[in-house]
């Protein structure tokens, strides 16, 4: 009787202990990685492929043995192109799913919406999309282009003889923070270069806008004043499709009024017939058509993973690739996935990019990237017509704006760093709200 009791008691005790330890052991078996991209709504056209890219990259890393001896496990959520839902889902990923890092966001509205969550819960966001700058946060690594790595070089190209010696500018954007801030920077840059205010037309339309008749007619009218005119487009999401269709229908040819877009890549063009769009431009840091061995390996691996030879690759995918590889390298260097340790390890790390150069993490949490200008071809691909000889370091606080003169960011030490440092007075100030 007593032995029976003792044995039962011991077994029960052992089971309870195992039960308590088991979840802890199971949790240590994988490192969770959060994927925060819209899989529905107006931005799904752009963001769905980034979710698939993250799954591909995680799969590749697991084939190499995982990270710190553990397998990586993706946790995918769908914030549905709704900015407050991004914050909700980010919180869920960090506090409930306990992810080590999050790869996500596209629109600046979504990024601004999740910033407070990442600050509060001290996690890391790898943001793979070109954006308007005017930000440098401790908890964010910006692997996409800042304005000096995309917008300004594109305008420089159009002003040059190669680009058509453009004299008149239409800045056409979707109505939210990224186009508004980018256009503020570009307008100041153009004025500084001697372009008269009469030669600049700025226009905004809402997300998902489909009736482009009046806008395109306005572009044609503005472009017939005798000076070479170009359109700088910061239109985001699926509003681009009816925009380009209307351009083609109204006969706006690229040789006459070229359109350079900052948010249109191979993915956005993949559902369209681009025969009438040949010659229109995009400015990125990567194009699928770039012929390097690294790019070929990436594309072949991607096609094998997604089991579809027709799926395109684009710049945000390369940025996701860079961000992921940098994170892996930083975790290996720090020996842990703890946020502050990884942030300390990541500044100064370099990984090769897909166009034959190197991407290094700068103290302001931006990367060094090359700038490529490409023209749309009839098959939806881009032909590179101009590129910077070397990589360009990303500038978070644009030197074009007077209020940003002398402002730098330095996160070399994540705990004592500053995102908005006035280098003249050496004080850490808060950025003015956009």
């Amino acid at each position: 009787m007593t032995v029976h009791r003792v044995v039962t008691g011991l077994t029960l005790g052992a089971m309870m202990t195992m039960g308590a330890i088991a979840p802890v052991l199971a949790a240590d078996d994988t490192i969770k990685v959060g994927v925060l991209h819209s899989l529905s709504g107006t931005m799904a056209i752009s963001e769905t492929t980034l979710k698939d890219t993250m799954l591909y990259l995680i799969d590749e890393q697991n084939k190499k043995g995982g990270l710190l001896g553990k397998k990586l496990e993706p946790v995918v959520v769908d914030p549905a192109s709704d900015w407050p839902t991004f914050a909700e889902k980010a919180r869920e990923l960090i506090s409930v799913d306990k992810v080590a890092a999050v790869f996500g966001c596209w629109t600046s509205s979504s990024r601004k919406s999740v910033l407070p969550v990442f600050k509060e819960l001290n996690s890391i966001l790898f943001y793979p999309v070109q954006y308007e700058g005017e930000e440098s946060e401790k908890n964010v690594i910006y692997t996409g282009a800042a304005p000096n790595q995309q917008a300004i070089p594109a305008v420089d190209y159009l002003m040059s003889d190669d680009g058509g010696a453009v004299k008149r500018w239409v800045l056409e954007g979707t109505d939210y923070v990224y186009p508004r801030t980018t256009n503020k920077i570009l307008e100041q840059y153009l004025l500084d270069k001697g372009v008269s205010k009469d030669d600049i037309l700025i226009n905004y339309t809402p997300f998902g806008f489909a009736d482009w008749q009046t806008e395109v007619a306005k572009v044609k009218e503005f472009g017939s004043a005798g000076k070479k005119t170009a359109v700088v487009s910061t239109i985001n999401g699926d509003a681009n499709v009816p925009f380009y269709k209307e351009l083609a229908n109204q006969g706006v040819k690229a040789e006459d009024i070229p359109v350079v877009a900052f948010s249109v890549g191979e993915e956005e063009l993949s559902g369209m017939d681009t025969t009438n769009l040949v010659g229109h431009l995009a400015a990125w840091n990567y194009f699928e058509s770039v012929d390097t061995p690294e790019n070929k390996t990436f594309i072949d691996g991607w096609h094998a993973f997604i089991k579809n030879d027709k799926r395109t690759t684009n710049d945000p995918m390369e940025a996701a690739y860079l961000g992921f590889n940098l994170w892996v390298k930083a975790v290996e260097k720090a020996g842990t996935t703890d946020t502050d340790a990884v942030l300390k390890a990541i500044v100064g790390l370099s990984v090769p990019n897909l166009t034959g150069g190197t991407a290094t993490v700068l103290p302001n949490h931006h990367l060094t990237k090359p700038v490529l200008i490409g023209e749309v071809q009839a098959d939806g691909q881009f032909d590179v017509v101009w590129k910077t000889p070397d990589v360009v370091p990303g500038d978070a606080w644009s030197d074009v704006l007077p209020e940003d003169k002398g402002i730098e960011a330095d996160w070399t030490d994540p705990l004592t760093g500053c995102g908005h440092m006035d280098t003249a007075t050496k004080t850490c100030t808060t950025a003015p709200s956009p």
Binding site: L39, S40, G41, T42, A44, I45, T48, D161, D162, G163, G164, D175, N203, Y204, T205, P206, G208, F209, A210, D211, Q213, T214, E215, A217, K218, K220, E221, S224, A225, G226, D238, V241, P242, K245, E246, A248, N249, Q250, G251, A254, E255, D256, P258, G271, M272, D273, N276, V278, G279, L281, E375, Q377, A378, D383, V385
Partner: protein, 539 residues
């Protein structure tokens, strides 16, 4: 003095040397000249193109066209420039000069000869210059237009030769304009320039305005008032045409709103049901178009050009059936309870959106646009795009068909009776439940037709309907229920008002102003513009 004379002589000889190749009989384009296209960067390519044009060999024209279309490649092994066409997994190569076959190559054996926008423009001008005397009228027309666009003074002699040989009035028009533009650009006698200004001003369109604005800076002082008068005349004309253009845009937007809202007007009018799933009916019609397209491409590829036409009855029947099913299963139980109907139909809209998302995926589906729906044509100073024109025609046809159904069929008679006085109609022996189901089906079917039209101008995505439900309600509230003419006038006036505001305040503010105006209008006339009158209607 001597050096001046020497310089002048050298210049004279140089200009003769340049002029002579043009005047000389055809010289042969050599393979070496063609291969030069594949070497170097964009400036070298431009020089190679100029050298080929200078030979005046007509075989150069298809080569330049191939370069412009992206069909010229350089063979990596020997640097020869070839024409490459996709064949099997690789490319079939042909010699650009004599069209002889050069075997096949894999994509890694050849490099595309790249061009940029600057080169593209120059190629268009070069091709235009070389084909100005072609026997094909269409080729001559596009050549004349590109010569006009470039207005290169060196083409003046060529232009005058072509003008002398030309009989077609439209072509003569374009060539005379080109000649006038060039005369304005170059050193010509005052009288010639004055005549040129009149020719250009007489053309009266935006391109003429561009030319005159540029000319204002360069013409001699005596002609400046003439140029200014021309500019002012054209500006006034363009303003009037601009108003007409806004009207046209407004009508096309109005026709889209009409298509989207007319189904809602019918269901709201007959049954008083607020159907928040109406936008999803539009979306289902668009997806039906996509499915029909996929089926035809898979099983009957010869009918691909007709897939849009075939989608019209298919979408109507499909969404009509869905509408009847919804009415029988959900709406029927909620008559007389507007809040519950609102909630139930809103929930239904979410279910439909997610069902489509799960079945078709969340990304947009491409619907091919038939050839007769691309491009635009000019009517006086108006530019009308074909897709919008056909949608206006379609909307008018749908409206006329609905009027026919409502006014000339027994079902229509019963619908109107039920709208005016449900109880009396029921007492007269009309089966009101049957009429309700048919009405809902008809309204949803028409929404499906709107979806078919929208595939041509908007993205086919699960949230297509969300963009039109608010607009549909605006039209129905503004136009008044029960009367289709109210919906027509309401849709067209909202569309026109929107398009007149947009150029001045932008798209976002324009929409806001329209909404505010409608709210103010409803304060005065709560029942809308064309409200039904009568004792029993108040219920």
């Amino acid at each position: 003095m001597a050096t001046r004379l020497l310089r002048l002589t050298v210049l004279l000889i140089a200009s003769l040397l340049v002029a002579v190749p043009v005047a000389m009989a055809q010289s042969q384009a050599t393979p070496a000249l063609v291969d030069a296209l594949g070497q170097g960067g964009f400036p070298q390519r431009e020089a190679a193109v100029a050298a080929l044009v200078a030979t005046t060999d007509q075989r150069v024209v298809p080569i330049l066209e191939a370069l412009s279309d992206g069909d010229l490649y350089t063979r990596k092994s020997d640097g020869k420039v070839v024409l490459a066409a996709k064949a099997g997994g690789g490319f079939a190569l042909t010699d650009p000069l004599d069209q002889s076959g050069l075997g096949t190559a894999s994509p890694s054996d050849i490099d595309k000869v790249k061009i940029n926008n600057g080169l593209r423009g120059k190629l268009r001008t070069a091709i235009g210059q070389m084909t100005l005397l072609s026997t094909d009228r269409a080729v001559r027309l596009s050549a004349a237009q590109s010569v006009l666009k470039a207005a290169d003074p060196s083409t003046l002699k060529l232009l005058q030769a072509a003008l002398a040989a030309e009989n077609d009035p439209q072509l003569k028009n374009v060539m005379e304009l080109a000649e006038a533009v060039i005369v304005l650009k170059t050193d010509s006698p005052l009288a010639a320039k004055r005549a040129a200004i009149q020719t250009v001003a007489g053309h009266g369109d935006r391109d003429a305005l561009t030319v005159l604005t540029a000319a204002l800076a360069t013409v001699p002082v005596e002609l400046k008032p003439d140029v200014q008068a021309g500019i002012d005349g054209i500006n006034n004309q363009l303003q009037l045409w601009g108003l007409a253009q806004n009207l046209v845009y407004g009508l096309s937007l109005g026709s889209v709103l009409l298509l989207a809202a007319i189904g809602l007007a019918i269901t709201f009018g007959v049954m008083g049901v607020i159907n928040m799933a109406h936008g999803e009916m539009v979306m289902l019609g668009a997806y039906a178009t996509f499915v029909v397209q996929q089926l035809i491409q898979g099983y009957l590829p010869d009918l691909s050009d007709w897939s849009l036409m075939i989608s019209i009855p298919a979408a109507f029947l499909f969404t009509g059936l869905v509408g009847i099913v919804i009415e029988r299963s959900i709406i029927r139980w909620l008559y007389g309870r507007p809040l519950e109907t609102l909630l139930a139909t809103w929930g239904l809209s979410l279910i439909l959106q997610q069902a489509v998302r799960s079945f078709f995926g969340p990304t947009n589906r491409p619907v091919l646009i038939p050839d007769w729906m691309t491009g635009q044509f000019s009517l006086g100073g108006l530019d009308i795009t074909w897709n919008r024109l056909w949608i206006v025609v379609f909307a008018i046809l749908v409206f006329a068909a609905l009027q026919l159904v409502l006014n000339r069929t027994p079902l229509g008679l019963q619908m109107r009776a039920v709208t005016q006085n449900r109880r009396m109609a029921s007492s007269m022996g009309i089966r009101t439940p049957f009429v309700d189901a048919m009405t809902f089906g008809l309204g949803s079917g028409v929404a499906g037709l709107a979806g078919v039209a929208l595939t041509q101008i908007d993205n086919v995505s699960p949230n297509l309907g969300q963009g039109y439900i608010i607009d549909s309600f605006m039209v129905v509230v503004f136009g008044g229920v029960g009367n289709l003419w109210g919906t027509l006038i309401g849709a067209l006036s909202i569309g026109v008002a929107n398009k007149f505001l947009e150029p001045y305040v932008g798209a976002v503010l324009g929409k806001i102003i329209i909404l505010v105006l409608i709210i103010l209008f409803i304060q005065r006339r709560p029942r809308g513009m064309f409200a039904l009158k009568g004792r029993a209607v108040e219920q």
